[in-house]
């Protein structure tokens, strides 16, 4: 199978969906040249300036435009250049897009997808390195997707665009230029379906976003020690594939959850709670969470590595649950 990068996979998804449905359009800061992370690069050549549109720097209005236009039949896919800037759009995302369907008694729907990259980029400091997935998981009415591979990036984005609900599509900066196998032609990855990257009977590692590849690397080291771990990626946080997580935990009896956001109030806390509510009797060890330390992400590279989750910490956590 051919290999393309995560960014190329996303671009293919956008192009295919724009070809398929003329209501789909992209806009945001620097999308015409696809400057920041190259995802939208070149789309303007095929689709023109009406459907590929630079905006001024006004994040809350960018999302507001998506809310308003989706409300009357468009399928907007705005890009917010860094997920840290979603802080500026919280009102439109959480109070408008996620609430108005409910408040109107089902009169409207909001088929919009806000794409935005999260996580480490390497010494970009605390305002350009955050992973805020957990914030949005807390908002009923939104869906949240976090693709970890080019394959998932393409298939999930296509599903997100076809979904009639607001989807926050949280990408990862460090993954954009990483290639992976992506079949030619069309396929969809459904929202709400986890993927098992590797199966092992000794522990379940639930890994999200960029942490999937760290967990996979960690599992190779662990295997040399005779520990076989299942690496499971939920792929979407809302809807969360609880069944797959629980089924895996029931087989391995041990669970480690790995995320790039910080630990307190994080995604791992939610997944741990699901496991302890539903499968406490199946657990043979305490649940472990590997997450960023509860600090802003520092600029200095060594400090940055220190606060973010690492392969080493994942290995430690798995050893810990296995030897409990």
């Amino acid at each position: 199978m051919r290999a393309i990068t995560y960014a190329e996979a996303l671009r293919e998804a956008l192009a295919e969906e724009m070809r398929r449905d003329e209501r789909v359009f992209v806009f945001g800061e620097d999308v015409e040249l696809g400057y920041a992370f190259t995802v939208c690069k070149g789309l303007i050549d095929e689709f023109g300036p009406e459907r590929v549109r630079d905006t001024p720097i006004c994040e809350q209005t960018i999302v507001g435009i998506a809310v308003g236009s989706s409300m009357i039949g468009m399928r907007p896919v705005p890009e917010i250049e860094f997920c840290d800037l979603l802080t500026l759009c919280m009102d439109q995302i959480c109070n408008e897009a996620a609430k108005l369907r409910y408040m109107s008694g089902g009169q409207v729907c909001f088929p919009l997808v806000v794409r935005s990259p999260a996580g480490k980029w390497g010494s970009f400091g605390a305002q350009h390195s955050q992973t805020l997935d957990a914030w949005f998981m807390h908002v009923p009415g939104l869906k949240v997707a976090v693709p970890a591979t080019p394959y998932d990036a393409k298939g999930l984005l296509k599903s997100a665009i076809r979904d009639d609900n607001p989807v926050l599509f949280i990408e990862r900066k460090l993954l954009y230029q990483i290639p992976g196998p992506v079949p030619e032609g069309e396929y969809l990855v459904p929202l709400g379906q986890a993927k098992i990257h590797r199966e092992g009977k000794d522990a379940t590692v639930v890994a999200i976003g960029r942490m999937v590849s760290l967990a996979l690397n960690a599992s190779e080291t662990l295997e040399k020690e005779g520990i076989k771990a299942t690496i499971l990626d939920p792929r979407t946080l809302v809807p969360l594939d609880r069944e797959s997580i629980l089924a895996s935990v029931r087989e391995t009896h041990r669970v480690v959850i790995v995320e790039e956001g910080c630990k307190t109030g994080g995604v791992g806390g939610e997944i741990a709670a699901v496991v302890s509510e539903e499968a406490l009797d199946d657990l043979d060890a305490p649940i472990r969470r590997v997450a960023a330390l509860d600090t802003p992400v520092p600029f200095n590279a060594a400090l940055e590595d220190f606060v973010l989750p690492s392969e080493e910490r994942i290995i430690q956590a798995v050893r810990d649950v296995v030897s409990f």
């Binding site: 006004c58 308003g68 409300m71 009357i72 468009m74 408040m103 109107s104 008694g105 009169q107």
Partner: protein, 321 residues
């Protein structure tokens, strides 16, 4: 100047009916709120009716509106069913929004009332998006976005006017300047006297309108709507008006933050009086309308009262499409 100097009496009576419809509806809402039948908070637009009526008179059926927490009048004028509105205000299953929106979030998408948005200022970016969609879909509609004077001090006002002007979107931004945001007067909140002047910064027409005169409002909105339909982009209208009631929750009309004298001086310019004077209408002439309107409202109240509470399971519906 090709507008007719004298409107037919029927026209005045028709406009009167609309103004008094909102007035009586909201007086009834106030009463029900004080009785605890309507819960939460209600923001009455008594005194500001000429804006809702003037705006809707200048629009076609297919045009769209995004309003604010003070949106009963706009919703009604856009053609919402009075009974369903009343039921919604009472939180009943038969309400426009199945009892899940309430006064602050009254929405009737089928009639082009895209929403009363409870977050101050948030309707503006949404209206910009609606305008973009209209333009891309080439439907020839116009989106009117209403907001208060306080909303115009926030960032979304500026972002939205900039983008809508830049892209020449068919949006009409209408500030209902009732001089107060809760208890804070415009004098304490605004660096400029007229909000309309801010239009200059975005190269759009900015017009101050007498918001107590329904005909003036209609005329100004018509011009802005024409401009929008002609592809020339948005306008900013500032309707100077006044709320005769407190902000919400049944608070007093005057008191700590505004004087009785000020209130009384605006009362002289009650939109109902202004219209009656202009049209030479006498109390006798409107009596019949008053009676009819009151009867309709009583019927709506009865409908709401007799309507069932929503089924608890409906709390879990309409979260996702």
């Amino acid at each position: 100047m090709n507008r007719p100097k004298v409107l037919a009496k029927e026209r005045y009576l028709e406009l009167y009916r609309k103004l008094v419809m909102i007035r009586r509806l909201e007086e009834k809402i106030d009463e029900l709120f004080r009785q605890g039948v309507i819960k939460g908070a209600v923001h009455l637009s008594i005194g500001q009716e000429a804006v809702a009526v003037g705006v809707s008179e200048a629009l076609d059926k297919k045009d769209l509106i995004i309003a604010t927490h003070r949106g009963h009048g706009h919703c009604l004028m856009k053609g919402a069913d009075l009974k369903s509105m009343m039921a919604e205000l009472c939180g009943k299953a038969t309400g426009l929004c199945k009892g899940k929106g309430g006064s602050m979030h009254i929405i009737d998408v089928k009639r082009g009332m895209l929403g009363a948005v409870g977050i101050v200022g948030s309707g503006m970016p949404m209206a910009t998006g609606v305008g973009l969609a209209i333009k891309m879909q080439r439907t020839g509609q116009v989106c009117v976005c209403l907001f208060g004077d306080s909303a115009s001090h926030g960032g979304m006002f500026h972002e939205s006017l900039n983008v809508a002007s830049l892209w020449k979107l068919p949006v009409v931004f209408i500030c209902e300047n009732n001089l107060y945001g809760l208890t804070v007067s415009m004098k304490k909140a605004s660096a400029v006297k007229d909000i309309a002047i801010r239009a200059k910064a975005y190269a759009v027409p900015g017009v101050v309108v007498d918001g107590m005169d329904v005909l003036e409002v209609q005329r100004a909105v018509q011009r802005a709507v024409k401009r929008a339909r002609d592809g020339l982009g948005p306008s900013l209208l500032e309707c100077k008006t006044y709320r005769f009631m407190g902000h919400s929750r049944g608070d007093p009309a005057y008191g700590p933050y505004r004087t009785r004298e000020e209130w009384e001086s605006w009362k002289q310019r009650d939109p109902l009086l202004v219209l009656m004077n202009k049209g030479g209408l006498t109390s006798k002439e409107v009596e019949g309308i008053d009676r009819e309107v009151s009867r309709e409202i009583e019927e709506a109240v009865r409908f709401a009262e007799e309507s069932p509470e929503p089924d608890l399971s409906s709390a879990l519906e309409d979260i996702y499409a």
